[in-house]
């Protein structure tokens, strides 16, 4: 089975329209909840049962996160959707916004209902103009249809939802930087504690979920938490979107049950491009540790299996590399990304990402020295765990994993001032 959750409508014509969404049962869950006044606790229990884990990368159980909200406490509360999809290798939320925006709208209204929020924001990556327009279109349709705004469907429940376009900073995908950005401040992560559930947007209790997580909600509540859980494997409920990119014949987004063997996913993406062999896979987006190809062929695509292989499922962003890939060049490029995207707030990340990049640049250019590899590993470990947010870790993990698995290639660069692999790019 595939395409049962976020991509369930993608086959419809103008799948992003309200008409198409409602033709496949869209907004029925919301109507049912509002007419029956289903207690939020019941809904949250169902989400917990589904074992939906945060699809943004950290994999934190969504139901548990919602239960942290002081839903009955007085004062404004917010639900925020994180559509600042910036992790290199990831492009799944973009397609949800383009092809199934109403499901996200419905998911966010239900989320607001569950956590006691009367307002929500969807923070959309700055480069996503088309998805942003689609989402705004969906909001307008929903408002006109009385599905969004004051007194939704005559139920007495109010919920306002706004789209907020980012300005092109990767770090704004970090939830507290995202909140700062919505508030009009510089997009820099906040130190936690306090956590957003206590002190979030404009200082109010806030829940932040990934686009895919929120878009999954209507389907989970329609078909039941148990059904969702059964789609996946224990501890990894449901189907999940995987963005497969790199040296494959048919790159794209695939919504498949969690626990599917990597080899099957690779098959769906058309296999490694013709005439080449699998060399390495980054399974969860550019910040997750790289896994050598042969090892990856034995791994299943779920949280625990990938963790056991020494990496992370992350956002499900699978970057496939074949034997023509120079690992030194890849790492240099990745390091450049984190160097450019570090917000500059805290010392280890601000200074360390630049240091890593400059040393890697030197190695790639053939000016590396014998001590550089140990230096890289040490600098990366000095960043890791010492920063305000996870961007420091994101910059450090690729360095450490590339050195762990492909140290010989880096050594070759240093010794021979040239690349070990025959690269065609």
């Amino acid at each position: 089975m595939a395409n049962q959750v976020c991509f369930r409508n993608n086959h419809l014509e103008n799948s992003w329209s309200l008409e198409a969404y409602q033709s496949s049962g869209g907004y029925e869950v919301l109507k049912k909840i509002l007419s029956e006044k289903t207690p939020a606790e019941v809904l949250i229990e169902d989400i917990k049962l589904s074992n939906l884990r945060g699809r943004g990368g950290a994999g934190f159980p969504t139901g548990l996160k919602w239960s942290f909200m002081p839903r009955n406490a007085p004062g404004q509360k917010y639900i925020v959707c994180n559509s600042d999809e910036g992790e290199p290798g990831t492009c799944k939320d973009r397609d949800i916004l383009r092809y199934n925006p109403h499901q996200l709208v419905e998911g966010m209204i239900i989320a607001g209902y569950c956590i006691g929020a009367s307002a929500g924001y969807n923070y959309i990556r700055g480069e996503f103009w088309e998805p942003y327009s689609r989402f705004e279109g969906a909001l307008e349709e929903a408002r006109v249809a009385g599905l969004l705004g004051e007194n939704i469907l005559g139920s007495g429940f109010d919920f306002q939802l706004h789209a907020h376009l980012g300005a092109g900073a990767y770090v704004c995908g970090e939830e507290t930087a995202l909140l700062n950005s919505i508030e009009g401040k510089k997009g820099q992560p906040r130190f936690k504690p306090p956590f957003p559930a206590g002190f979030g947007l404009y200082g109010r209790s806030t829940t932040i979920n990934n686009t895919e997580s929120l878009a999954s909600i209507p389907v989970i509540l329609e078909k039941g938490g148990q059904w969702f859980l059964d789609q996946g494997v224990p501890n990894s409920g449901g189907e999940k979107l995987f963005s497969v990119s790199g040296h494959v014949n048919r790159p794209g987004n695939f919504e498949v049950p969690l626990g599917m063997p990597f080899s099957e996913l690779l098959e769906m993406a058309g296999g490694v491009r013709d005439g080449h062999q699998l060399k390495a896979v980054i399974p969860g987006g550019s910040s997750t540790p790289v896994i050598p190809g042969e090892q990856m062929m034995e791994v299943n695509m779920d949280y625990d299996s990938i963790a056991a292989a020494g990496s992370m499922l992350g956002a499900g962003s699978v970057i496939v590399m074949d034997e023509t890939t120079c690992m030194s060049r890849v790492l240099e490029r990745l390091s450049y990304f984190y160097y450019e995207e570090s917000c500059g707030q805290c010392t280890p990340c601000r200074e360390g990402t630049g240091w890593l990049y400059r040393v890697l640049q030197r190695i790639e250019a053939g000016n590396g020295s014998a001590a550089d590899l140990d230096l890289l590993d040490n600098v990366a470990s000095n960043i890791e765990g010492n920063t305000i947010c996870a961007l420091g870790d994101a910059a450090a993990m690729p360095v450490r994993s590339f050195l762990k698995h492909y140290r010989d290639e880096f050594q070759y660069h240093i010794d021979h001032k040239q690349c070990m692999v025959k690269s065609d790019w």
């Binding site: 917000c343 010392t347 280890p348 200074e351 990402t353 040393v359 765990g385």
Partner: protein
């Protein structure tokens, strides 16, 4: 909450009882455990960005920043474990890779947090071989120099602007190691407290521009002193090298200035070496020219001239005007001398016009302490430009406002607050509006026992804004009505005072009064006023106040610490011109004295004399001279002592300023035990609005208040100084 349960934590294996909500770094600081830090500052919000204070916490998978980690019961923390030290050292390495390490040419050298902490946590050899970052310097104006390549992005200066200065002038632009601290659009800093970022900067990125490259920190001696430009009485350190004042920095005193000082207090010392300093006694010769002479001749000429007038026309022909920033000792000796010569014509209220309420009014006191200002929940400011008059009082009120106090203000157009007021009443005339607020309270049934008040409020027109202001004062159980310097310069001062007093009485608020100069309260208590003697002692006959002396110039006039052209109310310069014999005791030459004074006696500046200021709270703060007086100048109290002796007056045999002070203090202690100062219980107001058409005074520009400040070129060139100069000139031509 007294019964807050205390928690127990272990810090480096020693148990401590701590308060819930405390951060680890506070506990460590309280107990003398050193944790290195750069971004943390006890007066600023926590940003946890430098990561230098990482410590090991039991069961935490990562090292945690001590500045942002709250204590929890049973917590075990190690600040010097191998893991903690390793984390701290790695952060230190990151901080140093892009730091220029140009300590030998850096002004911060010797008082640099980075330098000091690097000694303990830095490596002796760098592993970083790449090019270092270079950052273009910013031009922040004439007060703060920048060397942005040295910046470690701690954001203390950024947070200061937002949280303390009240003007978000500085921020961080760019990401990653392209991030730069700056003003975005280049501009000079415009805060009246901007110099504090120099102290806050933990490295040599922000430095004192006037002090730049003039001395190393270890070459200077540091002396505690008291700032001489407003009634806050900020504690300062005057730093000297080889007998010259090199720099002024704050001295921490939580009860007064916390650890801030205004730019005026920090940079006014730059006027000390002005060419205008008087260094020689001078006497006007027969051709009408001032010629330098020796002290003996000058003093004799002064005594002879004054004595001739007194002998001919009686003591009442003598008048004395003195700066409101004179010391208690100077005030006391001057009034003692003048009264000894049979006159009570003495005043220090140089920019005041309306003295009709002086008998009923209390001395200018805040009425509460400066820290208590922060506890107020309703404040009404009447006739003040506090950020210019009393910058650190303005800061305390801003803190109260940010904590939720409702602050309203009646002021002339052009006064700018750096937070949202509950009611901002910017008006052309103060009296009608203040009367309307009083009337609003009357209408709420609050003024029945104040007989005579209705005469003042009868013509007032109450509008909604006045009612809101009145209600806000009534709501506050800790309320303050503050009468400021502009009210004192108003032609209706006595009415404004009476109305402010009535508002305070009716709303249950404290009446606070702050006027100009460093020692206006000292001037009252030491008796430098015509209507009472030292410690409010009743005088046989009330002398002439400044206003009366302007109308009827005394034949002989003693000026002390006055630059006549700028320090005095309108008409006063002309009055000096009509006086027959003028003695000017001053630190700076000025145009009026050089034209008119018969004897000029050079006086020491505030860094060169000992003395005492009484601040707005009534705190007596004495200070010592830290450098020798310039040239032949002498401390004011010594000049007065010798003059008194030369006049053959009794009671001028003082060996030091301390014994002068003792005499004043004894008198005041006796008064306070008798309760004659603040115990005026009955409200007495004038009969009518008086000069109700008088336009509100625009006040004295922030850096034009006294002769020393006016001669500090960097202050004059600063954006505040220039803006105000412009305003000043406009006012002069209007």
């Amino acid at each position: 909450m007294d019964n807050k349960e205390s928690l127990t934590i272990q810090l480096n294996d020693i148990e401590y009882q701590v308060e819930p909500g405390q951060m680890l770094i506070e506990v460590a600081d309280d107990n003398g455990i050193e944790i290195p830090r750069f971004c943390y500052h006890k007066k600023l919000t926590t940003s946890a960005n430098c990561r230098m204070c990482l410590v090991e916490v039991e069961k935490a998978p990562k090292m945690l920043p001590a500045c942002a980690t709250p204590v929890m019961d049973g917590m075990k923390v190690w600040t010097k474990s191998p893991k903690a030290i390793a984390a701290q050292k790695s952060v230190m390495e990151f901080l140093l890779i892009n730091h220029p390490l140009d300590c030998p040419v850096c002004d911060q050298g010797g008082e640099c947090d980075l330098q000091e902490i690097a000694l303990g946590y830095g490596a002796d050899q760098a592993r970083y071989q790449e090019k270092k970052r270079i950052v273009k310097d910013k031009n922040y104006g004439p007060l703060v120099a920048t060397e942005m390549t040295r910046c470690i992005h701690c954001t203390r200066c950024v947070r200061f602007g937002v949280e303390i200065g009240g003007i978000a002038e500085i921020g961080g632009t760019g990401r990653g190691d392209h991030m730069e601290i700056g003003t975005y659009v280049e501009k000079s800093l415009s805060s009246e407290l901007s110099g504090n970022i120099i102290d806050l900067c933990p490295v040599g990125a922000l430095l004192s521009k006037p002090f730049l490259y003039t001395a190393r920190s270890w070459e200077m001696k540091s002396f505690p002193s008291i700032a001489a430009h407003d009634a806050v009485g900020s504690n300062i350190q005057i730093q000297t090298r080889n007998g010259a004042v090199m720099r002024v920095v704050p001295l921490e005193n939580e009860a007064i200035n916390e650890l801030w000082i205004s730019d005026r207090d920090r940079f006014s010392y730059l006027g000390l070496e002005s060419d205008d300093r008087l260094t020689q006694p001078m006497v006007r010769n027969e051709e009408g020219k001032l010629i330098t002479t020796d002290w003996q001749s000058a003093l004799e000429a002064a005594v002879k001239g004054v004595q001739a007038v007194v002998n001919g026309a009686g003591g009442s022909a003598l008048g004395a005007w003195t700066s409101p920033s004179s010391t208690v000792e100077e005030f006391y000796l001057l009034q003692k001398m003048v009264r000894g010569l049979g006159s009570s014509n003495i005043d220090h209220r140089l920019r005041q016009y309306d003295f009709s309420g002086q008998q009923e009014q209390r001395s200018p006191r805040l009425g509460i302490t400066l820290p208590q200002v922060e506890q107020q929940n309703a404040i009404l400011v009447v006739g003040a430009n506090l950020r210019h008059e009393q910058p650190l009082l303005a800061h305390r009120i801003r803190k109260a406002a940010l904590a939720g106090a409702e602050v309203s203000s009646v002021h002339p157009q052009g006064v700018v607050y750096n937070y949202a007021l509950t009611q901002e009443l910017a008006v052309d005339q103060l009296t009608p509006t203040v009367a309307a607020i009083a009337k609003a309270l009357e209408e709420m049934g609050k003024g029945s026992e104040l007989s005579g008040l209705s005469a003042l409020t009868t013509n007032a027109v109450v509008e909604a804004s006045h009612r809101v202001t009145a209600e806000s004062l009534l709501r506050g159980d800790q309320a303050l009505v503050l009468l400021g310097g502009l009210a004192y310069q108003d032609h209706n001062q006595s009415v404004l005072y009476a109305l402010a007093d009535a508002i305070a009485v009716m709303s249950g608020a404290t009446l606070g009064v702050v006027t100009e100069g460093a020692n206006a309260l000292g001037g009252q208590l030491a008796g430098a006023v015509p209507h009472h003697g030292v410690a409010k002692q009743v005088v046989d006959s009330v002398g002439m106040d400044l206003g009366t002396m302007v109308e009827m110039p005394p034949k002989a006039l003693l000026l002390m610490g006055i630059e006549a052209a700028e320090d005095l109310a309108e008409g006063a310069v002309e009055a000096i011109g009509q006086s027959e014999f003028v003695v000017s005791i001053a630190a700076f030459a000025d145009e009026v004295s050089s034209r008119k004074a018969d004897v000029v006696l050079p006086m020491a500046a505030f860094t060169e004399t000992s003395g005492t200021f009484i601040n707005m709270e009534g705190v007596w703060q004495s200070f010592q001279g830290v450098v020798s007086p310039k040239g032949e100048a002498r401390p004011g109290w010594k000049i007065l002592r010798v003059l008194g002796t030369l006049f053959n007056l009794d009671g001028f045999e003082f060996g030091d300023s301390e014994s002068v002070l003792q005499e004043v203090k004894q008198a005041c202690d006796a008064m306070e035990s008798e309760g004659t100062d603040e115990e005026i219980t009955s409200w007495v107001g004038p009969a009518d609005w008086g000069n109700s058409s008088a336009t509100a005074a625009s006040g004295v520009a922030i850096y034009r208040g006294d002769a020393l400040t006016r001669r500090s070129q960097p202050l004059q060139q600063s954006s505040l100084g220039k803006a105000e100069q412009h305003q000043h000139n406009e006012g002069a031509t209007a």
